[in-house]
Amino acid sequence: MNFKKAMLLLEDKSLFIGRSFGAEGEVLGEVVFNTSMSGYQEILTDPSYCGQIVTMTYPLIGNYGVNSEDVESFKPFVKGFIVRDYKDRTSNWRAQETLGSYLSKNNIVGIDNIDTRFLTRKLRTRGALNGIISTVDLDPESLYEKIKRFPSMEGLDLVKDVTPKEKYTWTDKDIWVNERFKPEGEFNVAVVDYGVKWNILRILTALGCKLTIFSAYSSAEEIMSIKPDGVFLSNGPGDPAAVEYAIKPLKDLFGKVPIFGICLGHQLMGIASGAKTFKLKFGHHGANHPVKRLETGDVEITSQNHGFAIDPESIDKSNWEVTHINLNDKTVEGIMHKKLPIFSVQYHPEASPGPHDSGYLFKKFCELMKK
């Protein structure tokens, strides 16, 4: 195996020299860390990571290869991938190709042999930083010039890059989800796709929902035209405050149907309810975030992927209540309307990758639709 030299330079002038694996080239983006031990294929294909460079805190990556079933979208959205120790030899019966060849095919620049602990500590103390990975330009000075010109994630609308152009129906029924999700009835559900992960669609289908997927630009009338039993707001990338066009349709939908939002859907719902969002110092990315469900006091271990959060001070307390909080930094992880059948969570109950503690939320959505 011949490895080429690659460089990673951060906004604060931290330089890492490692080996290139995956595609060759140069990428700029916000560097975030993910604390999942496995599930790199789901992470790569998660549209919420659009425009970001992801580093895995778990050191051994690539050892189970890549297959065609573990994808969360039609293509990977991560721009660059940083790992400690990349393994080019796979050892898994499901593996169809190596991670390196998958990254090359999809034009994602990978860099390994990086001290990811040092990098993660840096991101934790300094907050999110922009970075550049390059295999072509190995001059730190010129790389630094490029970073200086790159915009921050704040105020960046990335939904427009991942949302579908037209509405479509979800038909993928073959993939096995989890035996815990059995049909709860027959529902007609409208999904607003800000960058939806396929496992959400798989779980909703397993629960008996017929899914029509709408673009983020759809108006409330378009969505109501299919007479849905419920509306689902998906996850997605970027700053929620920049997705202004998606707010009005949500306001119009309040009170008409049960609504369930996840991740960006949750943040947009918050904005539609009058709350504000802010950028976290370093985002929550990983599959081991403890969340407290205030209603019962139970703690769930959840999969999360967000760089922004709803400001608890700005929530309209007369109509909305906070239902979940993150136990690491006490940020808001779930809200619910006090009278209307509307609720949302910041984290990912569909896991992929991650624990299945929060699967009950999908059943709760079905219960609301039955009424």
């Binding site: 002038k13 330089l15 042999n113 730190p140």
Partner: protein, 174 residues
């Protein structure tokens, strides 16, 4: 086993002040000066010296961090190239002071010099060391020396700093 405690907090602080004045005496163009702290404790020493410089003279020095592991001469595999540094993206035409805690064989410093040359041709490289314990295997010497401590090769010199060890002291272990 602890054999002796060589320096305590005040003594370390006093030495760093003296070293700072030596640097101040020897240099004129402080914009060109760059302190390169070697991981791990050299980084904290270089930050302290920069802080003393700022407090005493009101001059802000550039500091950077360098991990010389990939430049060691005793690595089994050369394929594992991995380097991390902060604020060292160009050393061209700069006066560089390498900062480290203990000077022993001199091999770490040789690696650091090699690494610095990979970032451009510096005007000058100097060396600042807190403890020189002898037993050099290379023709390397400190320009700014905290203290010379004769040791036997069986002994270990440990520099402990508040930033990571919660205490400021230098001890000899046997």
């Amino acid at each position: 086993m602890l054999k002796a405690k060589i320096l305590n907090e005040q003594e370390i602080n006093k030495i760093l002040h003296r070293l700072m004045y030596e640097i101040y005496e020897n240099h004129k163009d402080f914009d060109k000066l760059l302190l390169v702290g070697l991981w791990t404790r050299g980084v904290f020493l270089s930050r302290r010296i920069a802080e003393i410089f700022l407090n005493e003279k009101g001059i802000r020095l550039d500091t950077s961090e360098l991990d010389v592991t990939p430049y060691r001469d005793d690595l089994y595999t050369k394929e594992k190239i991995a380097l991390k540094t902060t604020n060292l993206i160009s050393t061209r035409e700069r006066s560089i002071i390498i900062v480290d805690d203990v000077l022993f064989t001199g091999r770490t410093i040789r690696g650091a010099i090699e690494a610095i040359f990979d970032f451009g041709r510096p005007k000058k490289i100097e060396l600042l060391i807190l403890i020189d314990r002898g037993h050099r295997e290379l023709p390397i010497n400190a320009n700014y020396l905290g203290r010379f401590v004769p040791t036997s090769s069986k002994e270990d010199v440990n520099v402990r700093l508040k930033e990571i060890d919660n205490v400021d002291e230098v001890i000899i272990l046997e």
